[in-house]
Every structure is written in C-alpha cells, then in structure tokens.
C-alpha cells in the first residue's frame, strides 16, 4: 500500500481531532482580522443608519439554539445599532424555539447599552412580542392589525395588553414598521418577502445561516430584500461596521483555520485519488509477467 492509499484510509477520528484543534486554538488566541465588507451586509447597515430616530424596526428571531453561533451575533449587533440610534425595537418570533432566543438577546443587549450610559426604557424603546404559531397567518394578520395578532406584549419581564405600551401607539399594521429583519435558519425570509413584502409593501432584510445565504441572492438582486447577512462572516462584518467587534469577529480565527484545513483535506484527497488512478492505469497497461 503506497502513501496515497494509506492517506485515503486514514482513521476519521484523527480528522475529527485535527478539526477540533484548529478551530479551538484561535478561541484561545483570537485574532483581530480586518474583513472585506460585502455589499449585501453594507446594504442592511446603511438602511438602518438612514432611518429617522423613532422609526420602528422589527427583528424576527426565527431560529433556535442550533443556529445561535451564527445568528446571535447578528441579533446583538442589530439591536445595539437600533437602540444607540434611538430606533424603536420590536422583537418577535414565528419559530417556537426562537421565543427564548429573542428574550435573551433583547435583555442582554439592553443591559449592555444601559451599562454604557444609553437610556432606553422598556415599552417605549423596545418591546417583546410573544410567540405565535402560523407563520404566514401571523404575517397576514399583522398586515391587517398587529394588535389583534398580539393581544399582549412584554417588556422587562412585565406583560401587559399591547395597547398599554407606548411603543405600540406607533404601530397598527405592518406598514408602520420601517424595516423587518428576519434572522432565520429556515425559509421564513421568503415567506416574509411573499406575504409581508409583496402583499403589504413592507421592507424586509434577512440574516440567515451560511447554508441558506445562496437561496436569498435572487431576492437581493430583485430588490425584494433590502440587504442580506450571511452566517458568521456576515455577523463579523456587521460588528466591524459598528466598530464593536464581539463574538462574531472572535470566531473568524477558527473559521480561517478550519476552512484552510478542509481545503487541504479536499486537495489532498484529490491528489491521492488521481495518483491512485494513474497507478491503476499503469498497472493495467503493464505487460503481464509470463
């Protein structure tokens, strides 16, 4: 068995250990790379920067813990930008696992900005809408009357009828929301585009896991999405634009080395494949020893 055949048969557990090592080490020594900002990320950032203070932004947490490493950094960055720019924030979810994600993210960022001296008040500057099943039914209902879809809402752990919150005096239908940012690990952005955007004219931006980002480029080109954040890199780019590197940026070191190792594996595997194929051809063409 030559070296290439041995490499083809390498125990997969050694591959596992190598991947774990190259991803873990940069967490211990996090680099601070300068990223190239992609146009779709900049479009989301610029759109929010241009909104007037007091505009309402809805952030929809359509993901669960399994996608949190990619989408939580986006959520933190966008909520931070909105609160520091005096935009009003509504957090909501159409996904049952997004309920705790939205509450954790909102409360975490609110505490952080308050510690930094930014004055934000629950019910006036931010509000937490409860989970509602039904996906498109919820969006269609919001197009008619948000107050009917969400009879109650929560701020700082206190739940009240939705009309009691000052922020909701600005919002009656989906048209009163300046931008809806859907952070998703499923196909809810296309549902928002179809029902919220096409039907009611709402402005939609999406933050999706890297697996799905290609599926939404057609909507970006057709301007049905105002912008698109893709995976941990999209989150890191957004943090760089805000000037507040955080967990998204700190993960890019592991991304770099993990990618390089997988690229090396793929190239090594192909080199071995072609070497083995050439050796087999030579063996087939060699005259038989009589």
């Amino acid at each position: 068995m030559n070296i290439w055949e041995r490499l083809q048969r390498i125990d997969r557990r050694l591959i596992f250990v190598l991947i774990a090592a190259v991803v873990a080490v940069p967490l211990i020594w996090p680099p601070q790379p300068q990223l190239q900002i992609s146009p779709p990320t900049r479009q989301v950032y610029d759109f929010l920067e241009k909104l007037e203070p007091g505009s309402v932004v809805a952030i929809c947490f359509d993901y669960g813990p399994s996608s949190a490493p990619e989408l939580d950094p986006m959520a933190y960055a966008i909520i931070r930008q909105c609160l520091t720019k005096r935009l009003k924030v509504l957090v909501m979810t159409l996904d049952i696992t997004g309920k705790q994600m939205k509450t954790h993210a909102l409360n975490r960022v609110v505490r952080q900005v308050q510690q930094e001296g930014v004055k934000v008040v629950g019910g006036e500057d931010y509000l937490d809408l409860p989970y509602q099943p039904g996906y498109s039914a919820v969006v269609l209902g919001m197009g008619e009357d948000v107050h009917k879809v969400y009879p109650v809402a929560t701020a700082d752990g206190q739940q009240q009828p939705i009309g009691a919150w000052p922020l909701m005096g600005r919002v009656r239908t989906i048209r009163d929301i300046a931008l809806i940012v859907d952070l998703a690990s499923s196909n809810t952005p296309s549902m928002w585009v179809a029902y919220g955007g096409s039907r009611f004219g709402a402005k939609i931006a999406a933050g999706v896991t890297a697996v799905m980002v290609m599926d939404y480029y057609p909507f970006l080109q057709s301007k049905q999405l105002v912008g698109l954040l893709g995976g941990m890199k999209g989150a890191a780019e957004y943090e760089q634009l805000l000037g507040k590197p955080s967990i998204g940026m700190s993960g890019m070191g592991g991304q770099r080395w993990g990618h390089l190792v997988i690229i090396a594996f793929v190239l090594l595997g192909n080199i071995g494949y072609f070497a083995a194929r050439r050796a087999a051809r030579r063996a087939a063409q060699a005259p038989e020893v009589g």
Partner: protein
C-alpha cells in the same frame, strides 16, 4: 382565500383576518398532536420492554419535567423552565448540529473528488468560495472576496433563480391540485382523482 386576494372590499379583508386567526388557533392543536404521537411511541417501547426502554423512560421523565416546570412556573427569563431551556435544551440542540462539522470534514476528504468536468467545476467554485469567505492576508483578501462575491451574485444567482422559479411553479401546481380535489393524500386515502 384565492378570490379574497383580488377583492379589496372591507368584507374580503375581514374574511382574511378571521381566516388567519382561525388558522393560528387550529395550529395550536396540531402541535399537541405531534407531542401525543411521541408519547405513544415511547410508552409502547416501555410496555414492550424494548432494549431501549430505559432511554424511553428518561425521555418521558424529561418531557414531564419540562411540561410541569413550564405550566407551573411560566416561561419567562429566570424561571426554572428557562433554566431547562438554557442549560439542557440549548447545549443539546447546538451540539447535535455542531457534530456535522466533523462529519462534513471527513466526508469532504473521502468523497469530494473531481471525477468529471462538472464535479471539477463544483470543486473549483467551492474552493473559490471557501477562500473568499475567510480573512487570509490584507493583500489577497479584496481579490478573493471579490471573486467569491461575484460568483454568488451572478452565476450562482442565475442558477438559484431558475430553481426558485421551478419550485414556485411546482408548488402552484400542487396547490391547484389540492384545491381541485385531484390530490387527496393529506386526507389519508392514498387515492387520486
């Protein structure tokens, strides 16, 4: 609902409002149905003293614990239910999916081969994307990122749009079949037409 889309009259808009309300309420009961099936399966394994019956018992105990915590102490941040979500559900859910990173690396090493011209094109595109999505070197990054962004914005978008159109037309055809009663698999009859 199909006709409602084209009728702007207030009655039509009210009909949309009530129909969507009703869909949401019925959706609540559909969720419970799935849970019932799960309980049925695991209790059957315990009754039949299946080899994995102890694990099924653990699953049912954890289910009951979360239900009791959720209904008894509510689901707000800081509640026991929230604790169960944060320190049991979240780690398990996240770790289950993170295992894919290892299997993907192993599978890429063993099976990602440029056997045909099409596979070579796939390989080259994926390498270009992978290089373009990571910070390598200040001098290289703008060019690599530019190539990756161009691939995503133009040829890949064209292909994805073609797929999107095909899927949209297919789902429209299926919806029409459902409305016209040609497709009745959701009724469980297994027969058509």
């Amino acid at each position: 609902m199909f006709v409602q889309f084209f009728v702007p009259h207030k009655l039509s808009q009210d009909a949309l409002k009530y129909m969507t309300d009703w869909m949401r309420i019925i959706g609540t009961f559909a969720l419970v149905l799935g849970i019932g099936s799960l309980i049925q399966r695991h209790t059957a394994r315990i009754r039949q003293r299946h080899r994995d019956a102890p694990y099924s018992a653990v699953a049912l105990c954890c289910f009951l614990a979360m239900v009791v915590l959720g209904i008894g102490w509510k689901t707000e941040e800081g509640s026991p239910f929230d604790w169960g979500f944060t320190y049991v559900f979240m780690p398990l859910d996240a770790t289950m999916f993170s295992v894919l990173a290892f299997f993907m690396a192993s599978a890429a090493y063993r099976t990602f081969r440029a056997r045909t011209p099409e596979a070579t094109l796939l390989l080259v595109a994926s390498l270009a994307l992978m290089f373009g999505r990571i910070p390598l070197h200040q001098a290289l990054d703008p060019h690599l990122a530019g190539v990756a962004e161009w691939i995503m914005a133009w040829p890949a978008t064209a292909a994805k749009r073609g797929i999107l159109l095909g899927v949209a037309l297919g789902s429209m055809a299926m919806s029409l079949r459902l409305l016209l009663g040609i497709e009745r698999s959701h009724l469980g009859t297994g027969k058509e037409g």
